[in-house]
Amino acid sequence: MSTTSGLTRREMLKVTAVAGGGVLLQATLPMAAASPPDDVLVGSQELNVYVQIDRDGQITIYSSIPEMGQGIKTTLPMIIAEEMGARWEDVQVIDAPLDEDKFGRQGAGGSTSVPRNIGTMRRVGASAREMLIGAAALLMEVDREGLQARDSQVVHISGQHRSFGQLASLAAQQPVPNPETLTYMDPSEYRIIGTSVSGVDNFVIATGLTEFGIDVDVPGMKYATYVRCPRIGGTAVRFNEREIKGLPGVTDAFILEPNDAVGESEVWFLNGVSALRGGVAIVGDDTWSVFDARSKLKVEWDESSASTDDWSAMVAWAERTAREGGGRVIAGNGGVDAALADERNRTAEAFYQFPYVAHVCMEPMNCTADYRRGTNGEPDSLEVWLGSQFPARATEIAGRLFGMQPEQVQVHPLRMGGGFGRRALHDFATEAMAISHRAGVPVKLTWTRTDDIHNDHFRVGGFENMKGAVGPDGRLAAWEQHYIGFSNGGRPVMGSGLRGNELPAVAFPNARIKLSMQEIATPCGPWRAPGSNTNAFVEQCFIHELAVLAGRDHLEFLLELMGERRWIKEGDIGALNTGRAIDVIKLAAEKAEWGRAMPKGSGLGLSFYFCHAAHVAEVAEVTVTADRRISVEKVWVAVDVGPIINMSGALSQVQGSVVDGLSTMALQQITMTQGVIQQDNFDQYPVMRIAPTPEIDVHFIESDNPSTGLGEPALPPLAPAVANAIFAATGERVRSMPLSEAGYTLV
């Protein structure tokens, strides 16, 4: 891959836009003007695959991890810039092309982008810094020891200095330092890491110039829509082809047979449904013509192997299963039964329920594909433009669909209008490739919002039947958690079930976890903090129920459950650390002034959850009126994810998680009847609007644990904090989501 300019034309346009605006917005300081011209140094120099410096001192850093709003395109370059001693104002960030040989894994999911990449970013920055220092030592004829890189210059103790721009050419010729011997900056000297940096794409976003996948325009491109069977898994037999093809603006229409071509890693999420569902493609001159043609479309579907999933039947089955009390024991001991039967103990049983929910990324799923047949014996080729959390999967899919080799496929990753786990899966890309292949033209496939909801890989719904006992001493005496969820082919679907590392089970001996599963065909996938986003609700609410049963203060009861400050698995960053848990719980409680007297109709609710190596506690203050109007006034959040890299970005993720958590728990539910998803658009599946947004007060404990990601872990504690607050305000226990189903209105 050529890096002389390093830019594709598309990227060049973006940069121009940024630069044009940058001058206006922040009066950037062109340092070349202040430095003496150095004729030896010319051109933009590549110090390593991530860093280039031109003679004017413009530092270009490549961002290789897909951006979906999690801020990674700003966060990771900050680390490089810091270690190399750059001034952030001199940095421009450019999207790297997809090239995993060069950049390593280019994927985003599971809040792992920071922990996975922080080491590389520091190495890349430190290595560039050492090359610049090496160049300065040669130019100034001084020892390296007296040199230091800061503010985009290398400065000698004598006061002499050279700008990075002046050094770039010579630096590029320096030997690449041995990573083993690299030294890193002391955090006390950080000037960029830990500060608030505005997202590098904010100018193009605010001016409407960002290119999301849905904005792609390719010469000769047609627009496509794809109609799948309303009953998940049905296939198209025939349709009114002549009529559809005769509609204005429609150029082609055809049936695609189902196809299981899908990345190996995505099979699990499909629950037996084909990645490419059988359906009817309509191709035309613009999006509206093909969308509108759907109203005239008549399809005969073969529903013989379609889904029969039915939410009301699932609820009935779960209630029965809870009553019957069976289930396979996956962890725990027999002490639970004795404690539940012990007459001196007080016991409670509660049935919790959470619905299926959809991702509804603001940008509906879309993909542009250009399948070109080879001429003169050349092999066929394929170009794909898409917003994806794992864009390299498109290459894998092309291999399975068309038998193509990776070198025949070129994938252009684009910024995503939201991901939340949805864009970890690529059914929409499979469809676009298949449609372009069949139509023989480049096509942009855009899903309607209804397609986007109906064909989601949902956050799985489920149920948990809880039993617990508290002793005469007011302490937890028994905990039984019966998870009633869903499987396909005997394997729990994504997000269903318990991982065996849930609280209080991990920290408390007298606990038992049981599992009952029913088969489904509805595709399910990762949805922001899979599993955690529902288990937190059940566990943290039921702990509160038991605290109330024991007549104890919730805060005191929760802290007592944590016991001694310890690591559940010493040295494993992925395991709960009760010390860190205690610290965030205490901090959130302190900030919220836990224990203060609340007016009638108002209450505080507390929760804690550990996932994605993050410890997060939240307190919600709610007011509930007699007519069940709920207002979440304020949410306090205490987070320990180790040191923060971009303070503004970290805060954004927490604020967004609180809003997302509230929106989901208050408003959202997907139901299905005989395999047909019942919610068609935002009028039936709303997203929270601005008015109910609470004040959000976030506090970070920057412990010396390694930094970890923050896209997900602040979401799970929100729902139980709010539900516990509703109990505190009203005495009414919320055991089912969404709140709207229980007659509550969020205001």
């Binding site: 709003g69 960002t210 990324c361 919002r449 947004t693």
Partner: protein, 159 residues
């Protein structure tokens, strides 16, 4: 198919399209102004918000034949000389966007608010932006940025 004359961001444009084609798709597919976004097509989410003679309008449900007035899209929000609108500057200063997809619509609604109400309260902002979803939950920062843009605008006017 019919020809329609539109005034978009201060320029006269002519398109030949079906009369029932919503303005959204005329802008995006025909005029290649892709800053205006598709989110739902049923006037629920506000991603497609443009201004017509200043009035924030959901372009996804407005047939091109019904467009009566000058259209401003996000691409036309900055001043003619390229100076960003105070809202755009505030959006960057307060680091509002997450994924960024809803923000064109948010900005167009907010721009209309500031013209009719130079000193909006939180309640005014909530009302003016009630039609704009943000799936990423940037609402806290949107409120902040609108306040700060209002102040900047008033200060500039006073100067």
């Amino acid at each position: 198919m019919a020809k329609f004359k539109l005034r978009v961001n201060g320029r006269d444009r002519e398109v030949e399209v079906r009369p029932d084609m919503p303005l959204l798709w005329v802008l995006r597919d025909k005029l290649k102004l892709t800053g205006t976004k598709y989110g739902c097509g049923i006037a629920q989410c506000g991603a497609c918000t443009v201004r017509i003679d200043g009035v924030p309008t959901r372009s996804c449900v407005l047939p091109v034949q019904a467009v009566a007035g000058a259209v401003t899209t996000i691409e036309g929000l900055a001043a003619k000389n390229g100076d960003p609108h105070p809202l755009q500057a505030a959006w960057i200063e307060h680091d509002v966007p997450q994924c960024g997809y809803c923000q064109s619509g948010q900005l167009m609604s907010a721009a209309a608010l500031l013209e009719s109400n130079p000193k909006p309260t939180d309640a005014d902002i909530d009302q003016a932006l009630a039609g704009n979803y943000c799936r990423c939950g940037t609402y806290v920062r949107i409120r902040k940025a609108v306040h700060s843009a209002a102040q900047a605008r008033n200060a500039a006017k006073g100067a």
